[in-house]
Point group: C2
Chain length 319, copies 2
């Protein structure tokens, strides 16, 4: 029985194995993902993003508990900062959410910010696909920070929660302005801290000013203290409310179409590069290019032009 079949029958062991294959860029992982693809689209995906220090991990832990108490199976994809030195994820599954470790209805997977088959948003969507096929009702994707990578990652989510925290200083305004546009629900966490009300008020004001958008959903600003579990039921209710809006308004159809096109583009980009790289490695062309580059006998632009001219069928004559 293929790994994909085992995943579809709910095998957690097979899912973990497939995720490792994805991490290790094993080509057979693609075949398994192809088999899973038609059986996915059932899970509801929640993105949790916000600056470092906002308490996202604790919030995700509490959300997991909250959805579990409502009898939902929960998968978590947590992006952890990678150590540029060791290449490994710094937090890692083990220290995350120990309290769910004996619960078969929870599957937690850490992704390191580097490595893996393609870019980070590609790995995230591949892993989410496996969790979806495994039968998770809810998938929570937690990002590291609030950069461009994170914006790309939360595009995978149906509902995006942006987590802020009081007192991050003024420069954060610029980030806020970008983040306003990706959030469906805003959370001011660590709401016992000074300035929580002000932060919530500022966010509301900025949201009011953002004017008309494509959707007629009005994002709310909620206050939580994830560490003490305060405000979590309200947040869970609001997420479910957004989910219903998403399903009944027909936005889901457009979302799914855009997502499959984005996946196609992302896989195309990775696959072309990996194929050509293997070919020029095997033929020895790569070695001779690197030698020429080191000896300043060519520049990277000209070297690429030669490769592309030789490798692509029907390439346009003028670049």
């Amino acid at each position: 029985m293929s790994l994909a079949d085992q995943v579809l029958q709910g095998s957690i062991r097979a899912a973990a194995r497939l995720m490792r294959d994805i991490d290790d860029s094993r080509p057979q992982a693609i075949d398994e993902l192809k088999q899973l693809y038609p059986h996915t689209g059932n899970a509801f995906i929640i993105g949790v993003t916000g600056p470092p220090g906002a308490g996202k991990s604790t919030l995700v832990d509490q959300l997991t508990a909250s959805f579990r108490s409502r009898d939902k199976k929960v998968g978590v994809v947590a992006i952890d900062p990678t150590s540029p030195f060791t290449g490994g994820a710094i937090l890692g599954d083990r220290i995350r959410m120990n309290r769910h470790s004996c619960d078969e209805g929870v599957f937690i997977r850490s992704l390191a910010t580097r490595g893996s088959l393609g870019g980070l948003s590609r790995s995230t969507s591949d892993v989410a696909l496996v969790l979806d096929a495994l039968g998770m009702d809810i998938i929570i994707i937690e990002t590291v920070g609030v950069g461009q990578d994170e914006v790309d990652i939360v595009k995978e989510a149906h509902t995006t929660c942006v987590v802020m925290v009081p007192g991050l200083g003024d420069d954060i305004q610029a980030i806020k302005a970008g983040i306003l546009e990706i959030g469906d629900i805003f959370v001011v966490n660590k709401a016992d801290r000074d300035g929580a009300d002000r932060t919530a008020r500022e966010l509301s004001t900025m949201l009011d000013m953002r004017g008309a958008t494509e959707s007629d959903w009005s994002p709310q600003v909620l206050k939580t203290e994830a560490q003490r579990g305060i405000g979590m039921e309200e947040l869970t209710d609001e997420i479910i409310k957004h989910r219903e809006y998403f399903l009944t308004s027909g936005m889901i159809k457009l979302f799914l179409q855009e997502r499959s096109q984005r996946h196609f583009m992302s896989i195309l980009r990775d696959t072309l590069f990996n194929e050509v790289l293997s070919l020029i490695k095997e033929s020895g062309a790569l070695e001779s290019i690197i030698k020429k580059l080191n000896e300043h006998n060519t520049d990277p632009y000209s070297a690429v032009e030669d490769i592309v001219a030789n490798m692509i069928h029907g390439r346009r004559q003028t670049v």
Copy 2:
């Protein structure tokens, strides 16, 4: 006269024009960059990274002034968060460093976190190349936050300054651990705030613990108040000290070799994708793939497999 020739003669107007062409992904920009390539490698590149709110822009402004007072021409590449809504950079050149706007020895360029010819690290290196060819002695690259993108960007720099700020909370420890390995100089900015000494001490301790690395440079932790110009001369001196270490220790040779290989890989990835995308757009294949994806008659993995099989010469039979 080509734009490249004009840039090499110091034309700021031509440099700005070429950077626009890079932004707009105009194919002729590649030809100009090819011409510039052999004339570059003279500028010293400084990376400034750190979490949002650390005061990086102000610090870069002060560093610019400090190098100007030492008669160096300074180019700045500032990565600004992009509004996902408008696609434009949120800060933008205009509100940055007005005080240098009449100084011909300063060239400031904002890059938005999305768009442009390739990924962000690709655009950054292309723009830095133009500034280098223009005759800037110092190029400062300022990132938005501290994600993976930022780590890739600071790889372009000879000297990387990591800017921290007191009181960002505990979760920042994880980020710090990753950042320790990319910093040549550490700056605790806003050093008048509570906890500055503790943050500096913690950083020093973590640096001591990191043990032996490839290089025998020992990163220092400096305290600054960029807003009031305090500590800027010391920081400038330390950067110059690192520069001398870099040049005399022979690390520069390895650095340049790794950089040209990285550029080659990055340009190869972008060019392959862009070429194939144009070809399948022109032939109508893309349209029919998107139709099939929307009708669930294929999955993204299989669609990519078909394209790659058709487009790449000498493709391996087993993927």
